[in-house]
Subunit: 200 residues, 2 copies
């Protein structure tokens, strides 16, 4: 059947969002109608609010302060010689939540399926290089390529390691092994292999 | 870490939507920021547009016409003596898409986990009864209780069948059996049992 226009319109918007398929988009549209005007107003006002966010000019994590830099980049107690490069803002949030990292970041943005960097990503990488040259005397202590432990993440990490060769004393990746709480019996071969190789 | 306020705010809205968990809500929030002002504007304008929808005063499916009734209820070629009662607007869309149903509907709205009808659902049911009495001479031809084939759906159908006893010559449910394209080998016992009982 032909969906009512407003349902179709918002479903088209929603189905473009990560993790939302066309069916769920339609379900969400009807659900919102059922929630009524106030709920719709709250949602669109919250969406409007997002327009106040801007990307930190150094690490590109979104923030809402008047400064050009985010809290992390402004914090003098964070080690500026250690820089983790990652794809998504949510990866940064996950790493922050461990409370085990005191360095800085570079958010590269989701990398396309071809593995090639988009123009804005090349610019971000260039701005990191400039920063290392100007502010860190040409060499960071460590650059952590914090990409997913997948063959895709491996590929990106390998190409960035080449690209950034000489810009840090050490270029590392996140450790691999058994996830805490996991069971050896159910670990896949790759994971168990990594756990053996990196035992200690 | 503390998420930036606008991210937290929209994530709180999004995580209340069906099928969206707290992690995906945060991911969606960052994604929207990354999409920029125009995409955010389009989304909130599409959300605003939803406010033009209103529920059909007979079947409660949302529509945007000036009439009180939706296209289906206004259509004289639809059989008004056959009424399918269902939970969700999307269930109605799915049934319409089969092009095998020419009756009318009553959208009851998602039924709570206790299985008890909410006040607005009792009113919808009452308005169906009034309609049957006034417009159909006290008895519909058939009421189809089009709920999911789950123990939960069975429970609701059983209680509605009691409630509507006498308001239709026949009260039915959707047929059960093997889904088209499925394989006997992989059918669960309940499904295969239903397929045997309802063979023909």
């Amino acid at each position: 059947m032909n969906l009512p226009d407003p349902i179709r319109r918002i479903a088209d918007q929603l189905k473009g969002l990560p993790g939302i398929g066309p069916r769920q988009a339609i379900r969400l549209a009807f659900y919102l109608v059922g929630q009524g005007r106030n709920a719709i107003d709250e949602l669109s006002s919250a969406a409007e609010d997002l327009k106040r966010m801007k990307a930190c000019s150094r690490c590109f994590f979104p923030h809402q302060d008047k400064n050009n830099l985010c809290d992390i980049c402004l914090n003098p107690r964070r080690d500026k010689y250690t820089i983790a490069i990652l794809e998504k803002e949510t990866d940064l949030v996950s790493i922050e939540n461990t409370k085990k990292y005191n360095g800085r970041y570079l958010v590269l943005g989701p990398i396309s399926k071809t593995g090639a960097l988009l123009d804005f990503q090349k610019l971000r990488l260039q701005s990191l290089k400039n920063y290392i040259q100007k502010e860190l005397g040409g060499k960071a202590e460590e650059i952590i390529l914090a990409f997913n432990p997948t063959s895709y993440g491996d590929f990106i990490a390998a190409s960035l390691a080449k690209e950034l060769d000489g810009f840090a004393k050490k270029i590392s990746r996140l450790g691999r092994g058994l996830p805490t709480g996991g069971e050896i019996e159910f670990a896949d071969d790759e994971t168990l292999g990594s756990a053996l190789e990196r035992r200690g």
